[in-house]
Subunit: 628 residues, 2 copies
């Protein structure tokens, strides 16, 4: 175990020990067995784009090849590889959104999927100039869905952006030729430009990456969130619990893991089905315990206060508890290792999406056209598995933590309204006032993954602690939000850890110093927040003391996020070195020159304390420039 | 030089020698300096899909890591990498088509781009049920363009396929769940499914690759060809010349290299501009000599009989002649090494497309809205460069070869009509008769690139020679067609090299035994040909004695092509080992199991003679099954 202690959260050690006794492998074992990583790959200097290669460029001039067979330089290879990561990340978020929009298109009054938030639908319809006069709400929903789908494939003009984007920012995007045209088209453009014999200019390549990423943040992800809110309602602040302790000793434990609310909302309904609850009791359980994980965990807790079992690095550990009847998954961030791992326990591993079939899993394709019945059949499988549990070998950790969740922009405004004077009701103006008055120094968005190469959750937590101490309001999503929730930073009481300014705001509004704003696609809520603040202050987003931080990122989605956050004008700190160091030019563009284009840049800092210090310094600089 | 002789075409040796004297580097130098290639990459066992990695899987069980950090097995990693190649290839072809369709949308009676083939436009409009009654031809063109653009982004239903696809094949695609929905969407689907934590099943991954590739072959590429024909006319058989000898000692030599006819058609007009011709004479040249290269060379020769300077591996050699005033490029297969290489000579290297900027090139963005003037300004730059030529250092090889080109399906039917009886006019029936009567044993499509790791053009030529000797009609596109043209196989006289059956057909129709059918997107012409033949015989395409061969492929486009050809039901031979050998499962699916899905499979054979023998054997088997 010694080897792992530097990498796993302390409270996870007993589970790792159990896993070792059980003779199973975890991601930390694989970190060990992978040994040295490829130096070319780490530097971004490996090109596998055509079959003349693979080519690997020497980082040392005069030693080894300095160009690929086609003549591609380090700058070209590194920038192409990075652009493809942005394309894949954008594709993933946006394809998720596409699914949600199709759900809205098939929603009906008597169907399994209904429209729960009519106000938000009407607001979007008005924003898109859709004539709703005399139309039934579902009819409007279908028209809005069709309009939303246009954003993926519209053949002419610009992408349709939300109202929250300040005009000045749109003009910048047009001027810099990074205004997206359509989501799918931008992904395809990168795939084309990165083909052999196309783009061989790092700056132009990265400009395309900026453009594509904006299609993710402000269209794909953004629509994903908005339409999810229309279908499943806008989240409101609520209290719930996190970490693997939420697994119940004598209940049918179902881990719901992945990303798409289409599945999770229906499974949530199914676990309350009286027939299924009765069946659970018949097989000897006290009930059915639904536990979310990763972004599905965030989606469920945001809207329903469902308990959250943990983040990315806990999916294997959940199985090792021996107390999980089924891990039900849809798409993204599902470790394929679960197929083998679950076989060592009684756990059913059930894939549900054609986008993510996994060899060795049981595939029960989730049928959105018959969603409730489909969800019930999946839940039933978990229930029937309960008697197979080996009660002797259950180990549920004792690390339950309460946290607050559900801070949509609407919910934040609701909190502000309670403290606001009459003129400022229904607006973010009181928050703007707190920032202008320096009670809040700035806003930091903590986002992104776990990465098994660095200590689990540690950087998320250290950065957040230091930031709130310095009066920086932290807004968090995804695995970062869960890490902070588990650490106890996402509750009302932790306001005491904040600096005096932030503490007074938290106490006044009855909010935590770290606001859980949802899943990774919900970073769009943070975009909305910053866009609205900039508009209220009549400045550009890049003028605000607002930053993004991805302390433990690992996925291509995180790359797309980082790039669209910077393209939005928000400085972004990365705690994991991207695979770009083989090109000084690419590094310089990202940590320096890109600021001339979009007014923000990347900072790479692996030390969490230094990260927080740099952020505070940068915020103070922005505040000085704003004269606040 | 000794090292290179095994890799370059014999007639290119003097140019390589000159290059060495000139102190410049070519792709063969880079092959030497790259030394050993990465064994993981070659086997497809390298994964750079997330920042937990890069991961490399050991091909030897028990030695090194057997899974990536996420748990991805060799099967998963290899299949994901391959699928991404298909996505990139599909994106490239289809984005090319998108550009052409936008041109049709902006075509006008008085504009630079006109509609030259009204019949083909009307035929397409009718096929797509577009009401043309009382509409001006340009109005119809714009409606057709909009309908074509829908195929990239349609949010519902299936992709719109051409009439040439037999019903039985469409049913198969639906049954096997590989019927594409929309071009861009399929590319995005693969990028999503290959994201970390999504698809981890080799068979399902490859099924997605099949679906996506079909969107390339039967939609992206297909529409690219059809709409190019509408704008620039359907190719007709014509004679021209190939190889670098077509450069002229005392003319302004312009190499036009890349893929998109939007640029090349306009440059072709510009070089005849009287003002520019006069200017060329003023600077001391006898005239302007436009020479096509790679697929742009094929596009130009197909429609205008423009001379073709050569294929992929000759782009650097063209510059080394010292006789080229400008290399004008658009997208795909442009060696970025040209930027440095042209600086050693007087040659201007001009990029024109935002999709393919190249550091070190002169970028003159081609303005399609002001196309003729834009083309003239680019040509003028070449002319003004003529006086900078160093006449002492010119070396133009003496390897001019005549060849026939322009065999669109329409042109083939025109040839057949001359020999056909009254009932069979306007149809491919006489060709079907020749196949059924075994004058033609079968049809082999020779396609794809050069690859500097194997001897330039050699495999293309050897395979074609052996096939025509065995009465196999060869249809060729892309760099393969140019290789065969240079070898003298694409002319009427070479019928004498054919077996008796094929020879009699060639003589009767006055055609070569190798038909040059165009650029790489024009493989759609071959699809059309096979689809129509299958329909006439009332069988599926997979029943026909028709094969695809990519002897020297290297690009991701070639991967997409190979996959859609197989998905179409046509067995395909690869002369270069794909990077898949790290997964026995993936290999087995591609060379065996895929036949159960689509009725065709891959053959990997690096020996050209064995390739031809296998093809003949397979054709005879198909003939026996058909009872012909």
């Amino acid at each position: 175990m010694q080897n792992f202690e530097s990498l796993v959260s302390h409270d996870m050690v007993p589970l790792l020990e159990k896993g070792r006794e059980d003779g199973v492998e975890t991601i930390w074992d694989r970190v060990q067995s992978m040994k040295a990583q490829c130096g070319f790959g780490l530097k971004g200097l490996c090109c596998r784009i055509c079959a003349m290669g693979p080519c690997r460029i020497s980082p040392v001039p005069g030693k080894g090849a300095s160009r690929g067979l086609c003549g591609a330089t380090a700058d070209v290879i590194v920038s192409r590889n990075l652009a493809r990561m942005v394309a894949a990340g954008t594709a993933s978020h946006s394809d998720h959104a596409r699914g949600i929009i199709h759900l809205l298109h098939q929603a009906s009054k008597d169907g399994d999927y209904k429209i729960k938030n009519v106000d938000k639908l009407r607001k979007l319809a008005a924003e898109w100039n859709i004539d709703t006069e005399g139309k039934d709400i579902y009819e409007i929903g279908h028209i809005v869905a069709e309009a939303a789908l246009e954003n993926f494939g519209k053949p002419f003009g610009e992408i349709k952006l939300p109202e929250a984007v300040p005009e000045v920012r749109k003009e910048l995007w047009r001027r810099e030729n990074i205004m997206p045209r359509a989501i799918d088209r931008e992904v395809v453009s990168i795939m084309h430009s990165t083909h052999i014999g196309c783009m061989a200019d790092a700056e132009e390549m990265l400009r395309m990456a900026l453009r594509t990423s904006l299609a993710d943040g402000w269209a794909g992800s953004y629509m994903g969130t908005v339409i999810s809110d229309i279908l499943f309602d806008v989240p409101k602040a609520t209290k719930t619990e996190s970490n693997l302790a939420v697994l119940e000793e004598n209940q049918v434990n179902i881990i719901l893991h992945g990303h798409e609310p289409s599945l999770s909302e229906m499974i949530l309904l199914a676990v309350s089905d009286p027939g299924l609850v009765a069946r659970a009791k018949e097989v000897g359980a006290d009930g059915i315990n639904l536990v979310g994980m990763c972004c599905t965990g965030n989606e469920l807790s945001m809207r329903h206060g469902t308990k959250n079992g943990g983040n990315f690095l806990q999916q294997e550990l959940a199985v090792i508890t021996g107390a999980v009847e089924a891990v039900i998954v849809d798409v993204q961030c599902i470790l394929p290792s679960l197929a083998d791992l679950t076989k060592k326990y009684h756990t059913d591993f059930i894939t549900t999406s054609p986008t993510a079939r996994i060899t060795g899993a049981t595939h029960i394709e989730f049928d959105e056209g018959n969603a409730y019945e489909s969800a019930k059949s999946i839940v039933l499988k978990a229930i029937e598995n309960f008697p197979n549990r080996d009660k002797e070998y259950i180990c549920i950790p004792d690390n339950r933590t309460e946290f607050m969740v559900g801070y949509s922009v609407e919910s934040i405004i609701e909190h502000l309204d309670k403290a606001a004077n009459e003129n400022e009701k229904g607006s973010l103006m009181p928050l703007v006032g707190a920032i202008a008055g320096r009670k809040i120094r700035g806003v930091a968005a903590l986002v992104g993954c776990n990465n098994p190469r660095i200590k689990q959750d540690y950087n998320h937590i250290k950065i957040a602690e230091k930031l709130i101490e310095n009066d920086v309001l932290v807004v968090a999503t995804g695995c970062s939000a869960t890490a902070l929730a588990k650490a106890g930073l996402v509750n009302i009481e932790s306001a005491k850890l904040a600096g005096d300014g932030l503490k007074s705001v938290c106490e006044g509004l009855n909010i935590p110093p770290v606001l859980h704003m949802g899943s990774c696609v919900d970073i769009s809520r943070i975009l909305q927040l910053t866009g609205e603040i900039a508009k209220l202050l009549e400045v550009d987003i890049s003028d605000l003391p607002v930053v993004g931080v991805a302390p433990e990122w690992m996925s291509e989605k995180a790359v797309a996020i980082g790039v669209y956050v910077v393209a939005t004008g928000i400085d972004t700190w990365l705690g994991v070195l991207p695979q770009i160091t083989g090109s000084e030019k690419v590094v310089n563009i990202l940590v320096k020159d890109v600021e001339d284009i979009v007014g923000a840049k990347f900072f790479v800092e692996t030390d969490p304390i230094k990260t927080a210090e740099q952020i505070v310094e940068r915020m103070d600089m922005k505040r000085r420039r704003l004269g606040i």
